[in-house]
Amino acid sequence: MFKHESIETNSGLLIVLTLVAISIGGLVEIVPLHYINETVEDVKDPVTGVELVRPYTPLEQRGRDIYIREGCYTCHSQMIRPFRDEDLRYGHYSLAAESKFDHPFQWGSKRTGPDLARVGGKYSNEWQVAHLVAPRSVVPESIMPNYPWLLENNLQYADIKDRMIALKRVGVPYSLTKVEYESNVKRFGEDVAKKLDINTAENNLMAQAQKGNYDGNPNKLTEMDALVAYLQVLGTMVDFKKFDEDHFIQFR
């Protein structure tokens, strides 16, 4: 009989069998997600047919980098679960499709602060700026740290193209060539496709910052511009009024 003694006294066999045992969970849970088509929902505009979830614009992407740099994810999740209480507080549950261009995703597993998956449009830019500089000026009971330097630091974006190319390598459809651009026009529509073109990234970034004036100071491009632009787009890409809930249930 195969006694545990023979495993315990043979470290080579013990290592192999341990690896087999612990990889089963990962293999069974993770691998199928890559080939089961229903994992990521199909979210296309019912009228125009363009994909509603798009990659971040250069400015939003820089804001996302700052979000990660400042460690926002250590206290804020971006994942609304399909429970009634979360639906009532935060809005519609998060779709897999909504984070398909996120590298790395920001789902999180710990909420010290509230979930931010649908924070976009919930507050005005002025509020976001006031709150990031001094959270207790608008929410007295808040325990969030102050981030005053966001309003002082100039936004570094000289390497924006490299950043986009890096994301392109892991599958985010930013376009470099004419063919890729045309494919984006088909997928996302022309307006969005223009913003995803790596060749015009710097201009796009400047134009969005100037038009949005997220930090309230039109004369200076700060890290605040980028971060607020990112926060304001979170969870706003899919207009759930256009869909029957049934559509999303069918993907499960």
Partner: protein, 315 residues
């Protein structure tokens, strides 16, 4: 295999390991309760695999049998599907007891007039409890938990002074469509002298101490085409709800923090800063184009606001 070594005292089988002369490792069987619990978890896992979505197949997965969930589509068609959280949520929102109870109240409040809500203790209580959550979620971040706002940034909602109108229709419109509070910056229009004169005049409107000669000059600018202030604030300075223009004759200061300034000079500076920089404030859209609150939810919020400001007025 070697003959098992036995402990001479208890007669139990040992593994043969000995430490410190007499310390031996016994090869006892697992405790029965532990073993049966272990077998129990295996049986539980098999039942679970059968009932719930579990094993991946080639391009799909086992969906589970015996606990289908029914829900209704928007068109009212009844559908049944294998167990999953999304369908479960839809089902809970459509048929769950708390959801239905809440919906019944929302329907009742939605059909009632504001007077009826205020007169009915039951509906008032619902507005109070549902409204406090909605207010906390949607409004308190800017207007603060008590609705007192932040001077210079977010208007006070409980002081009976309304920039965009305080009747229920106006409040509903504000919540539904958001507001853009805008006053042009006069930094380039006014010379430093003119700025000083207009600011002095604005202070006199609500009886604040000010330089009378400068104020007289300021009045001409305010009511004339140089400043054009009257176009929104009216010639009397009483403001205009349609423009969100503040009433300058009452003693309520929503942007220039005159009340916090202790000296007449500081008060003047506070007013000058606002005229110099202008105002650019935005309240987000909470109706269909924005946060997507339903008409009834907007009504609950409006009724809740009425309760809030009435409560403050009573104090």
């Amino acid at each position: 295999m070697a003959t098992p070594v036995k402990d001479p005292l208890t007669g139990a089988e040992t593994t043969g390991h000995v430490w410190d002369d007499t310390l031996q490792e016994f090869n006892n069987p697992l405790p029965r309760w532990w073993l049966w619990t272990f077998y129990g978890t295996i049986i539980f896992a098999i039942v679970y695999w059968i009932m719930y979505p579990a094993w991946p197949m080639f391009d799909s997965y086992t969906k589970g049998i015996g606990n289908n969930i029914t829900y209704k589509t928007d068109a009212g068609e009844e559908k049944s599907t294998h167990w999953n959280m999304r369908a479960l949520l839809a089902n809970e929102m459509q048929t769950g007891e708390p959801a239905l109870k809440q919906k019944a109240y929302l329907d009742k409040v939605g059909a009632a007039s504001y007077e009826q809500i205020a007169a009915d203790p039951d509906m008032s209580a619902f507005v109070r409890s549902y409204g406090v959550g909605m207010f906390g979620d949607n409004c308190a971040a800017c207007h603060q938990a008590g609705g007192q706002g932040v001077v210079g940034q977010f208007p006070n909602l409980v002081d009976d002074d309304w920039l965009w109108g305080g009747d229920t229709t106006a409040i509903e419109t504000t919540i539904r469509g958001g507001r853009m509070g805008y006053m042009p910056a006069y930094s380039k229009t006014f010379s430093p002298d003119q700025l000083n004169q207009v600011a002095n005049y604005v202070l006199t409107l609500s009886g604040q101490p000010a330089d009378a000669a400068a104020a007289a000059e300021g009045q001409k600018i305010f009511q004339g085409e140089t400043g054009g202030c009257y176009m929104c604030h009216t010639k009397e300075g009483k403001g205009m709800h349609a423009q969100g223009a503040a009433n300058l004759t009452d003693k309520v200061w929503t942007i220039a923090n005159v009340d916090a300034a202790t000296t007449p000079e500081a008060k003047l500076e506070a007013v000058k800063a606002v005229i110099h920089n202008g105002v650019n404030r935005k309240m987000p859209v909470f109706g269909k184009e924005g946060r997507n609150l339903s008409d009834t939810e907007i009504k609950v919020l409006t009724a809740y606001l009425q309760q809030m400001s009435a409560g403050v007025a009573a104090k």
